[in-house]
């Protein structure tokens, strides 16, 4: 049964993961009429299917310093901007330049393809990271005296190079945890009518602009009672026990110093680690989810962004300043009437949307920007959300949606509240990227 499931998964994953490469292979030959390119484009998709089996593939690889790629990315970004500056130059306006526009279109197409290509160069399959885990499982099986099989699914899923670096350690930790705490001893497993060997499944799949990496074991599952007890001992319970959902309870194990294991082993049980995993994953804008069923197993799901380098963003204007809001965190945008605005005695503003009350954050007040749009019915409300918490941002107007290349703020400036980074817009101006989770935390904490 298991094998039947495995094959379609692998089949399914294959066409999705190498897609960018195949797409590029097919796209590049179209604008270029040179035969050489066409041939290269044809041979690439052909080589791909065989790429799955080691030994058959003929790969020629070079390793490149990531800094060079970053530089290339910057340069291409600049190129895209200069292209717009040339082809939409104000001095060209109104002139009958049919041939120029034709050539300009071609230029734009090529620059866009170049940008996509540079982006895809940075994408690396997870295979190498997943391969490392085999060894860990083997070593630990021997040391713990538990027979554990590692099943890897979707290792060809690609993520940005920067992100790969951050997930190796967390994964290693989760796998160790699963083997040490999750998987029972062979004897115990026999009693429970489970196969004598345990299975840890490492699965990656892409979901929109995120990648989901699951570490799944078929062990004993998390013990809700034990965790609750421990949480009580450590004074972590703030709500009534019955009110806590399973996810809330399991969330406790992610806190620093939390371990329900009585004895400390070479591998785990010190209560350090899960908090480090969470910290590392948060650093790259990801989240950790835990699901567990007693005696069936535990699933740790890491939800991480595909890339740190590019996001889809809606650009909004406040006064003269422009801000980009990641599209994934926007739920809706709308205009409201002045009478819809509720102000509490402390001066906090909020609005009621479909029976739910959301706080209103005026960006011009937060960032101290001069603007004429201060009346709530003149501007636009952008509702953003994160972790099921909502917040309404009040801005002057929406300028449009575009993919933006995320750049960090200069080191000298360090961290600014509510700003996650900055980006260059098509006209060369800079827009600040809002840190939506940060803003929501600021307003609701």
């Amino acid at each position: 049964m298991k094998e039947v499931i495995l094959t379609p998964l692998a089949e399914e994953a294959k066409p999705t993961a190498p897609k960018p490469i195949i797409d590029l292979g097919e796209e590049i030959p179209q604008p270029n009429t040179e035969k050489a390119v066409k041939e290269a484009g044809k041979s690439e998709p052909k080589a791909k299917p065989s790429g799955g089996e080691p030994g058959v593939k003929q790969q020629s690889l070079i390793s490149v310093n990531v800094n060079k790629l970053d530089l290339l990315l910057d340069l291409v970004g600049e190129l895209v901007i200069s292209e717009a500056m040339v082809t939409r130059h104000p001095e060209l306006e109104g002139l009958p330049l049919d041939n120029f526009h034709k050539a300009a279109r071609q230029l734009r197409k090529i620059t866009n393809e170049l940008q996509d290509l540079v982006m895809s160069i940075r994408m690396v399959p997870l295979a190498a990271t997943f391969q490392k885990m085999h060894r860990i499982v083997r070593d630990m099986s021997r040391k713990l005296g538990k027979e554990v099989h590692l099943k890897v699914v979707g290792e060809e899923t690609e993520v940005d190079k920067n992100i790969i670096e951050h997930i190796s350690d967390p994964l290693m930790h989760l796998i160790r945890n699963a083997m040490d705490h999750g998987i029972e001893t062979a004897e115990e497993r026999r009693r429970k009518n489970k196969p004598a060997y345990g299975t840890v499944t490492l699965e990656a799949k892409s979901a929109g602009s995120d990648v989901l990496i699951e570490v799944r074991d078929d062990g004993r599952g998390l013990n809700r009672e034990r965790i609750l007890e421990k949480a009580k001992q450590n004074g972590l319970l703030t709500k009534d026990e019955a009110e806590l959902s399973d996810r809330d309870v399991f969330g406790f194990i992610l806190l620093p110093g939390f371990s329900t294991k009585e004895e400390v082993t070479e591998f785990s049980g010190r209560g350090v680690g899960m908090d480090v995993v969470v910290k590392e994953i948060h650093e790259i804008g990801g989240t950790v989810l835990i699901d567990s069923t007693p005696d069936v197993g535990t699933v740790f799901t890491l939800k991480i962004p595909l890339t740190l380098a590019i996001i889809d963003g809606i650009t909004v204007r406040v006064g003269k300043a422009k801000y980009s809001v990641p599209t994934t965190s926007i739920r809706e945008s709308f205009q409201i009437k002045a009478e819809d605005l509720i102000t509490d005695p402390d001066g906090n503003e909020m609005i009621m949307i479909r029976g739910q009350c959301y706080p209103v954050l005026r960006l011009h007040q937060l960032f101290n920007v001069q603007t004429h749009v201060t009346r709530i019915d003149e501007g636009v409300i952008v509702m953003v959300e994160n972790n099921e918490k909502g917040l309404c941002l009040f801005v002057d107007e929406l300028l449009g949606e575009q993919q933006v290349v995320v750049k960090a703020l200069p080191k000298y400036i360090k961290k600014v509240r509510g700003i996650a980074g900055c980006t260059l817009l098509g006209d060369g101006s800079i827009s600040l990227i809002l840190d939506v989770p940060g803003l929501i935390q600021m307003m609701t904490a």
Partner: protein
């Protein structure tokens, strides 16, 4: 013989930037900055304001795809702000691994100030001249030589990072 020439050549190579200062004007004073810090000089650009920064950090600019902060040296020295005009320049400096643009009233020239013409600043009890490393004599004029590191690294900046 050839060896000596080579050695001389090497020394010259090393020393091309030594003793050279880029001078610029802020208010009534002429300041000098060691040329090795300077990467380029550009005209004033559109500055994107960033919230929660001290007044003298005017914001960030796009320098050919690189985003760097810009500091108004006038405001840094607690002088009156002045409208930017076509004489206003941004001196892009690299200090350590930080690139930053310094907004100055105008840029004058690159001059060589030999070591013997450089004197330490007078000892004043006030903390006023904390950004001045030394004073250079150029003919009859003096130029205040800036301590770039101090210009950037400051308690104020440290406090800023704790926000």
């Amino acid at each position: 013989m050839a060896e000596i020439i080579e050695r001389n050549y090497e020394m010259e190579e090393e020393d091309t930037q030594k003793g050279k200062y880029l001078t610029f004007v802020v208010g009534n004073e002429v300041y000098g900055i060691e040329i090795r810090y300077v990467t380029e000089i550009i005209g004033i650009q559109a500055i994107t304001e960033v919230p929660e920064l001290p007044v003298y950090i005017k914001g960030i600019i796009n320098l050919r795809g690189k985003i760097i902060p810009v500091m108004d040296v006038r405001l840094r020295f607690n002088k009156e702000p002045k409208e930017y005009n076509d004489r206003t320049c941004v001196i892009v400096v690299d200090i350590g691994d930080i690139s930053i643009g310094l907004i100055v009233d105008s840029v004058s020239e690159v001059i060589t100030i030999p070591d013997e013409d450089i004197v330490p600043p007078p000892q004043v009890n006030k903390v006023q001249n904390r950004y001045i490393k030394a004073i250079g004599k150029v003919g009859n004029d003096v130029s205040l030589l800036l301590d770039c590191e101090k210009l950037l690294n400051d308690d104020e900046v440290a406090a800023l990072s704790e926000l």
